[in-house]
Symmetry: none
Subunit: 191 residues, 4 copies
DNA sequence: AATGAATGAGTCTTCATTCAT
DNA sequence: CATGAATGAAGACTCATTCAT
């Protein structure tokens, strides 16, 4: 019920484009790009049939790109919110894993990584592939930035950021398989 | 189940059922369950249209289950081949990562984990989910068995096997994103 | 429901939905629900393949229900046209049988009862069964109404309407078997 | 060939061919020729897959012809059993309707006329059509024979037999629609 | 006389997309 | 900005049949 970033006075009922992006992100995370039909997305977003191509001229692929970007930005906010108030890298990592585990639990314990499900399982497309790589490297870069800021050396920071990314992806997947977020919470110990 | 593994005179041009399973495993790994059509699988396997439902009465889902099982068995063989001749766990892990990296390179550097792509991105089905969990836990159990055999303590073996699994899944995914197997080869250092 | 019956300027080349319903009614009458493929209906109606599910979201079954309703309405019109100008019940029955015999001859002498062929020979479905019962009872009720109006007593009217229905169904079937409408014309004598 | 009529001592578990015919007759009566698949018939008859084409070289159509003939013969037996011990035609007709109503009730109150469902709703085939006509005229002839035997005049017998046929077909259909055999039992009163 | 694996044309249906309004 | 009717390619699946055994 929180309306975006700039709540003026009479909060609009959240614009159609936004509802579309959020619905797509949620559904793609659960079933993959090819596993979700536009009809399903439109139903979930309560958007009229034809309005999709107004906001996303290239249709499904445009929507997928946008929803992956949106989901990635949410993760970046989570990273920032975890590391900025942290006393050290370990502290921030701990905090991030807690947040992600809660997110996993809230999503029904069955959602995959939103970027991965949307772009990697999508059409074998150069654009999709590059966008996925771009977003993922953005996560790693963000973590690396905080690692440096929190005192790690240059090489150590890079290596740690990458390792953390690997653990998060692998851990999230195992959590999904087990439908149990416990694994995610144990990841910081492995760093 | 079947005698496919013991060809009597090794002369048959490999039975249709086998070709179907291998083709499906390869294609599902690349594009996910929903991303591959039966026509594509049939074409790749050079199998006639109607013969699929002869071998797999429940159609695509049966084929997916069978191909995931087959792919999982291949991995189990790889694990055994890596750890059995090894002098220690670290040695075996090193060997396994090399083998997997080579497999990744051979597969065009774009394939996902065959079980994950096939079953987790498939229909949100209890049977699929349970089968995936069963196969994955089999991998972890197999590694744990070798860890114990090679001298690790009970608790350490269990923890190490799970961590290794997490690293492999996360590392393979990052390799896929980067289309570069280098990450996979660096995983043993993280254990 | 629809405004198909009130064409504003009577210029449109008859809408697709209408052509679909008429084609379906004709073909189902001849070959039964399961004996006609959608391809055949689409071809006869000169309608593009995908447009069927636009007008009939549930596909073949929706189309069958609609075409049976349409055919039933045509029969009701025939009943009204026969009995309204009639001097007595016998006169109206005579007229109706003549009209039905002509209809039978015009249809190639091979069509079955449109409701029966479409709904009774369709999937063993509660909805189909109830709809068929509803339509048939509507015929009987309509005849009964005219019987009352034309002077028959309450009980006699009900019995006569039902008997007439039975004779019409049985007579039409025998006419079909013999490919000869003669039987239908002799039915009034049996009342 | 068929030892059905001469059960020796240890009654065989009824030959495959027979089971096939009976299963087909039952299923076709309920769902029509096109509404039943061979797989369903084979399952119901507990017959092995390939054995059908051994007994019925022309496949489904041969089986349909045979099952319609068998069902028709059963009806002829019923007619004979009703009229032979009868004191008059009315008595025999009454008896036959009772027997048919019981048959209808025993069949789940949803079966159609076995010949009609099998042959008239089958492929628009000259052979099917002629066979149906032949069988139906056989019923009428049998009733006419008994009518003559029981004292009706030549013309009256012919007319009565045909009327009775019409009432039976129409009445059975209405009983099916209402899932209630009551109508069938009231038919004699209409003669 | 009997079997069951193999076949490909056919089934109904859903898909992402375009168009006129 | 927004709509929903219209489209045909593609989807998964079932069919009656044939064949070698």
């Amino acid at each position: 019920m929180d309306d975006a970033t700039t709540p003026k006075i009479a909060s609009k009922p959240r614009p159609t484009k936004d509802r579309l992006i959020r619905a797509a992100a949620r559904l793609f995370s659960n079933c993959g790009y090819h596993g979700v039909g536009l009809a399903e997305i439109l139903a979930e977003a309560q958007a009229p049939k034809g309005s999709l191509y107004h906001h996303f001229p290239n249709g499904k692929s445009d929507l997928a790109l946008a929803s992956a970007t949106w989901a990635s930005d949410e993760i970046l906010l989570l990273i920032a919110a975890s590391f900025e108030p942290a006393d050290g890298f370990a502290d921030g990592a701990e905090s991030l894993c807690q947040k992600l585990a809660n997110l996993f639990d809230a999503g029904g314990k069955w959602s995959g990584c939103p970027i991965s499900s949307t772009l990697l399982e999508g059409p074998d497309n150069a654009q999709f592939h590059r966008h996925a790589a771009h977003l993922f490297e953005g996560w790693i870069a963000e973590v690396e930035y905080h690692a440096l800021r929190l005192g790690l050396g240059k090489d150590e920071a890079a290596a740690t950021a990458q390792s953390f990314y690997i653990l998060l992806q692998g851990g999230w997947q195992l959590a999904r398989v087990r439908r149990d977020s416990a694994v995610i919470r144990t990841l910081p110990a492995l760093l």
